[in-house]
Symmetry: C2
């Protein structure tokens, strides 16, 4: 008998992702936990929690057989990368890799190929697990990464390896079948790095944000506890009865927390491979999906889908929208199709795991009319409980909560990234004076809601004043004839820069450039939300606004192609 | 500009109770957060969150002025004790003391006076904060503790100090009024000891269980997240709209988590001083209380209260019962009075902060008939997610989940106490082989529910067999003519010990001893829940069963007074 105390099993019991796997296999071993639909073959793969867990144990044994080494505090384990869509295999990797002590690098396959090869070499990935549909992408990167990566594992629903120039490539399912389905998970140090997630690098090379088990554990607990705070009745109905479909790619900053949250909640997780409109509708109908979190673009694709009325989408009682303002015209259309629809905004970034600010209906607001509630739900929101979030001026002082004064959002707390991998200088650029600096601008209103105004690098300097482009974009999106709108700065000899709006109208709206300015004047200037000189001086009606790989407006691409848009623009200063 | 990284603000951001105070003052500063009703004067005291917070800041400044010193990992801060009921002041102490780095010792004022003085001297309390109604108790302990305690602070709704022999005594409200209502809370080490809670010492001297900020933070997060798992619709309706009344004393192991959970949830917390039936009913009606957690005794007092029908108790939609089996006769009576009534059991102890096992309705059970659901809700339950809980045999091996094999409950996890204060030997008695040993016996059923069978020290050894008394007690409580029942071992020359039941019948039930045995035979033996030889050999009908200070059956008192009960007992072996 070994006598205690045992701090490692009490006061220092490590906070590990491993814990999240225990609840589903103990509480619901024989319930379906993971549903994956191959978006090409349209075939379904269903796994009970214990089946999924045993596969994850096999994978852990495989990683050990591949000699994947554990890290320690301050030093990541071997980097194991994925080039994969939202499949059960990717979910297996999300747990097996970190829980043996190695570090998961989910490669963002929507990056430019140069950035993909950069992240692989910078990360020093030892093994890459690749989906069959992404093999061509890997092949195009191969020559530049083959000196870094030792092994490749090919993942497919079909048996056999394809013809490929890639050497040292193995077959996932075959390897798994050779391993034991039992595994003794180690009690790692909670400061072990679990994941390495690269930024999309819109302003330069991608940077690698590192997250420890502890950070992700605390993040997950707070995300789940947060639903206990919510006053929205749709959210209340969820909990264990939730059937979420994970449309956010698992290679985008932990799919906003989905793999950890839903595994711990032990709810049936629906994985669509990649988003397709028909796959989305079919999965909602077949699996009785109750909730999704999507970017506005997906909603636009959905309502344009001619066959949408053929599906029964009535199970869907919570549709949260993040990653951009929701245009009112789009919102109204979606509400007709999906009765349970709720728009609610959130704010986060790769460096913050990601969630930091979320829409929130305060309890004294809960009887407000729907229109007014919807306004609250898209006001970006309140800091996540457990984080410190401030909006500060250039001297680091908190700005007054007056709906006017714009400052930079700074954050600190237990799930904010400590440092970029191998980049002390880049780390020091964002971490100074005890705060992580987001580079995003916002004001704070009288009820303490934080409203995003702009990226620092996107802000338009017009004369001595600053034009907050995101504010203008969100305001434009409120017009029911606008499908999407963005605002960029255009060089101007007099003012330095002037704001140009790029706008896509609702089909057959019969509106013109002046209607946008009139709307912004009535709803913005007259109501005190913006000042007159902030109004766009140029308006270009376009068929499509360029977007980045994560669905945000791509202002770099717009600036690179500026002449094309200027040619379409109408100068609103001319009478 | 100081360049980062700053691990203390990111990956090692400390998990502190301080964080829980931030949400209410930021989200609902001007909403009523704390309501205290003086159970003697019947006067109400209402505080908005910001008012309560400012008082807590004043208290923190006072503690600093009193030179209360912070601790460090492995070494507690100055021990600051309370002899106090459930008041706003006690809640102020619950945050101000730990959040300046000192250690809170909430004295269990229901202990025997010798045990009270023992815990004060063992803890080495530097200051005691005492409620006016508890001053006589303090005075009776004074001579034995005055060499330990430096200062006393008298807390009362009325101004002025009473005549007392106690020296160095100050007035709480007067001291607070002299302090600033702003305080810069320190970023403590999360391993600082926040609380020191003594066991009730039924088997010897009380032992001091210590809890760090980290342990209580993780405990609270899991408790809140747990409500997201629940399938019970009554619980779903709560969240931020909950108005809990805290009837569990704050001097009983963190009042089951109430101060931390409800402050972080920022819900209106109703504090009744101490429990009285009229105060309870009045507070439910006045404050529209929605939830309470109580021991069965309180329910018995409530339904015997002749004026209960004069009150509107309709707001009360969740009544959870813990700390003992709920007799079916009592349950039926309460259901008539309180329609939203839910019985649900839980299990925990001082050393586990306290919650470790809780009733849980699995999702595939949610459409079961109410009777069957109620059975699930009182089956003790499932381990709290985030803890490891096992039932093991004498060799430390997990017992089969067969509803039969009894073993000891062992636990480990982030909110289990690491050690008793200044008692390495007692620590080693409970912590060995990597597990905390609870001393409680249970079996596990086929659906993995843990069912408490007995305390190891209370188990009856009859011949070569073991009679699990808690099982018998819970089964007896299922009879609708039983108000309460307990079972103890009585020395016997043949068998070593034989089981004797002490039972209190429902008034005017017209039942006799044999009816209990008949019931246990039909519902227990015939249904395979117990074996025939486990049936009580003696049955004593009593007016009252002795209880401990926390409302549990006091088997030590019964054994000390055994002759009196034996005189009342009928031998059921005689035909």
């Amino acid at each position: 008998m070994v006598k205690g105390p045992f701090p490692e099993f009490s006061s220092h019991y490590p906070l590990l992702l491993t814990t999240f796997m225990q609840r589903p296999i103990k509480t619901y071993p024989n319930e379906i936990g993971v549903v994956y639909r191959n978006h090409i073959t349209c075939e379904y793969h269903r796994f009970t929690w214990i089946e999924w867990y045993k596969r994850t144990c096999r994978l852990a044994n495989l990683l050990k057989a591949f000699n994947a080494k554990s890290g320690k505090p301050g030093k990541p384990g071997d980097r194991i990368a994925t080039m994969a869509l939202n499949t059960h295999r990717h979910l297996e990797l999300y747990f097996a890799v970190p829980c043996i002590g190695a570090t998961l690098h989910p490669i963002n396959v929507r990056l430019a190929i140069d950035h993909i090869t950069y992240t692989i070499n910078h990360s020093g990935d030892k093994i890459i697990f690749v989906d069959d549909v992404l093999l061509p992408l890997l092949e195009s990167a191969y020559d530049k990464i083959k000196d870094t990566v030792e092994k490749f594992v090919y993942m497919s629903d079909k048996p056999g390896l394809p013809n490929t120039k890639i050497e040292n490539i193995y077959e996932y399912e075959e390897l798994l079948s050779q391993q034991s389905d039992e595994f003794e998970w180690p009690y790692l140090n909670e400061d072990n790095y679990a994941t390495l997630c690269y930024t999309t690098g819109t302003t330069g090379l991608p940077k690698g944000a590192m997250f420890t088990h502890r950070a992700l554990y605390i993040f997950t607990l707070h995300m789940i506890a947060y639903t206990s705070f919510l006053n929205d009745p749709t959210h209340k109905a969820l909990g264990e009865n939730n059937v979420p479909m994970v449309t956010t790619p698992l290679f985008h900053i932990h799919a906003w927390g989905a793999p950890f949250i839903y595994t711990f909640l032990a709810v049936k997780m629906v994985l669509p491979g990649t988003f397709t409109v028909d796959g989305f509708c079919e999965l909602v109908q077949t699996e009785k999906v109750t909730s999704v979190a999507v970017v506005p673009t997906i909603l636009a694709l959905l309502i344009e889908y001619p066959d949408i009325d053929k599906y029964d989408l009535s199970s869907l009682i919570s549709v949260s929208v993040g990653g951009g303002a929701l245009p009112l015209g789009l919102k109204k259309k979606v509400e007709k199709k999906i009765p349970g629809f709720t728009a609610s905004s959130g704010y986060g970034m790769t460096e913050t795991a990601p969630t930091t600010i979320r829409a929130f209906v305060k309890k004294y607001m809960r009887d407000w009319p729907k229109e007014k509630l919807d306004e609250v739900r898209v006001k970006t929101g309140l800091p996540m409980p457990g984080l410190e979030v401030e909006v500060v001026d250039e001297n680091g002082n908190t700005v007054p909560h007056d709906s006017e004064t714009i400052g930079e959002i700074v954050i600190r707390g237990p799930w904010v990234m400590e440092k970029y991998y191998k980049s002390p200088k880049k780390t020091a650029d964002v971490w100074y004076d005890g705060w992580f600096h987001t580079g995003d601008l916002a004001y704070v209103d009288e009820e303490d809601f934080i409203v995003i105004a702009d990226r620092i690098k996107d802000v338009i300097r017009s004369g001595a004043e600053m034009v907050p482009t995101v504010l203008l974009e969100n305001l434009s999106a409120m017009a029911d004839f606008v499908l999407e709108a963005t605002v960029v700065g255009v060089p101007d000899e007099v003012w330095g820069e002037i704001p140009m709006a790029l706008v896509k109208f609702v089909p057959n709206s019969n509106k013109v450039e002046k209607d946008l300015i009139d709307f912004l004047t009535t709803e913005g200037v007259d109501k005190g939300k913006i000042t007159k000189w902030m109004l766009p001086k140029l308006v270009a009606i376009v068929d499509e606004i360029p977007r980045t790989s994560v669905g945000k407006f791509n202002k770099i691409a717009i600036r690179e192609d500026l002449d094309q848009f200027l040619a379409k623009a109408k100068d609103m200063r001319k009478k």
